[in-house]
Symmetry: C2
Subunit: 337 residues, 2 copies
């Protein structure tokens, strides 16, 4: 490994001058600059970024804690974050937490031990209270796709209430009145918010969400399958079902297919997330998309702002809106009349 000292000798200057030539070119003379450049090229010198970080106390590294890599949900966010940071030559060091509070905290700390200047945390398992506690000692953190009242300006998240409302409004606009829903675990604020949004939209239009038509799932497809069957078994009348994730919608679609219930002719299905999965389902799933990549990007930007203690980051978007992606799984009841 060739070090700055060797470059200095080769160029016949001091290490300080080499360092300056590389980092603050306007502080060094033309001629010296040239000598250094030659030395660097000749020797194939590449600065040791770790040593540089230690000396300058800035690692130019951001840590990311997520559940796992092998889910497009995280994939999109991490891609957004990494890209945003890469363009400012920050590195991303990512660790998966395994979806338990201990793992999340451990990853959080170990990333900090690596001198990450800030952490982008996707906390699933940590409760609001735990988060509140831990955050105090680890203020250089950005919560990705999660809202916490105590650290509002360090959260980047989807407006789930509006998302749920959007879903309801869309279904209403298509003439649906008897609407069922399969939610995520109600222990997740996302699930509660989406549900209350849906409820609001119905209320605004003078309708009510029938509690018997609300099933609690877990975002995974097998629960979508189970819940859809429950709904169908209940004998209750409904023309559409809003699933709080595309995966559950996939399960619901499967249930319908098995029972010979046609989608969208007999029942309309609306998803949530906007993953590629939705596109590949049959029928192609109409869904409420959350801009995951953008959320990741914003998280990256905000993490940088937090790391550099930049006071004004009002230009970074922190609240994102969902949008409906229209495909073929929702029937327009207005057409038929």
């Amino acid at each position: 490994m060739v070090t700055i000292a060797q470059v200095a000798v080769y160029a016949g200057v001091s290490t300080a001058t080499v360092s300056r030539a590389l980092n603050k070119p306007d502080l060094v003379d033309e001629k010296t600059m040239a000598k250094v450049r030659v030395a660097v090229d000749e020797l194939g010198y590449r600065p040791n970024q770790v040593a540089r970080g230690l000396a300058s106390r800035s690692s130019r590294t951001i840590g990311v804690v997520i559940n796992c890599f092998n889910s497009p949900y995280y994939g999109h966010m991490i891609q957004g974050a990494e890209k945003a940071l890469r363009t400012i030559s920050y590195k991303t060091i990512a660790e998966s937490s395994g979806e338990n509070a201990g793992g999340e905290k451990a990853a959080w700390d170990s990333l900090l031990d690596r001198q990450c200047e800030a952490i982008i945390l996707h906390a699933d398992a940590l409760s609001d209270d735990e988060l509140s506690e831990l955050f105090k000692a680890r203020p250089m953190t950005v919560l990705m796709n999660r809202y916490h009242p105590d650290f509002e300006d360090q959260c980047v998240y989807l407006d789930n209430k509006k998302g749920g409302q959007l879903a309801g409004e869309y279904l209403l606009s298509k003439g649906h009145r008897a609407i069922a829903t399969i939610t995520g675990p109600t222990s997740y604020y996302e699930a509660r918010d989406r549900l209350s949004g849906l409820r609001n939209s119905l209320a605004n239009a003078g309708f009510e969400l029938d509690p018997a038509l609300v099933e609690e799932g877990n975002f995974r497809d097998d629960m979508g399958f189970t819940c859809m069957n429950r709904l169908l078994d209940s004998g209750k009348h409904f023309t559409a079902v809003f699933c709080q994730s595309d995966e559950m919608a996939a399960g619901a679609l499967d249930a319908c297919r098995q029972r010979g219930v046609r989608v969208p002719e007999d029942i309309s299905v609306l998803g949530f997330d906007g993953l590629e999965l939705a596109y590949h389902l049959t029928p192609k799933l109409t869904t409420v998309r959350q801009p995951l990549r953008e959320i990741g990007e914003a998280s990256g930007l905000l993490a940088y702002a937090v790391a550099t203690k930049s006071t004004d980051h009002s230009d970074i978007q922190r609240i994102f809106a969902a949008e409906v992606v229209e495909r073929s799984s929702v029937l327009d009841l207005n057409d038929g009349s």
Copy 2:
């Protein structure tokens, strides 16, 4: 930030002793150990891993270069690698390359600048020759899911030829004789190998792959769609089509659906990859699965072995076999007779 010096003062010993207490406990006396432990706890000391890395010249970090994060293909591999490395408390620092040779090289180098002890490289754009050249100066590298004759023992990959052969044999066993195929780009060795494997399996059974039934795709679903249409338009008879990726199979399925061709009744479709996507297709796709997670894991292990110059890593699997996952998109022609 509390440093080792503060701990030393607090415990009334030298920094060397603190360091030893933490890293080589058997070198320090019971009583001293206790004092240090108290100091560490009291002060909440956490070693700076960057400084530690600099001093001990071992960063305990492995770099990973991939195309992008938002594809389950990479997601599974990276998950495997990160998990394997995490269990030995190595960190993974991942960078996406944007699928161009320049990006791949840049990421490779910049990860090395961060003192990664080894790099796990998923090279798509770099040619064999370029790779050969670059590898010489960057020997601490593992090629993930790619084979290169010059560095065989630093490659972890799927046996694509056998994979293609497996596909052919499976289709033959189901009574198919007129087999079409949609390949990846023939500039990729994966595509060539899978094709030649398929060809072999037919030859072994005394049949031949009709060149008119071979379409070159690009692994993406829209090309699957296009190629399937071409095949159907050609008027040539075939009972099954082997797609070299699940995504292309999805496109092919779409094409069939649009034209009213039933799968598997009229045409059987076999995929490749074994992503979740395959499960969610209609009909559920029978596919040849590559063990991506395991490949990632092995890459992590091998990278560690390379980094530590462990001479014997014969216990690490480097060649993986594909397996067929049977679902509902391939008809058994033997049944009908």
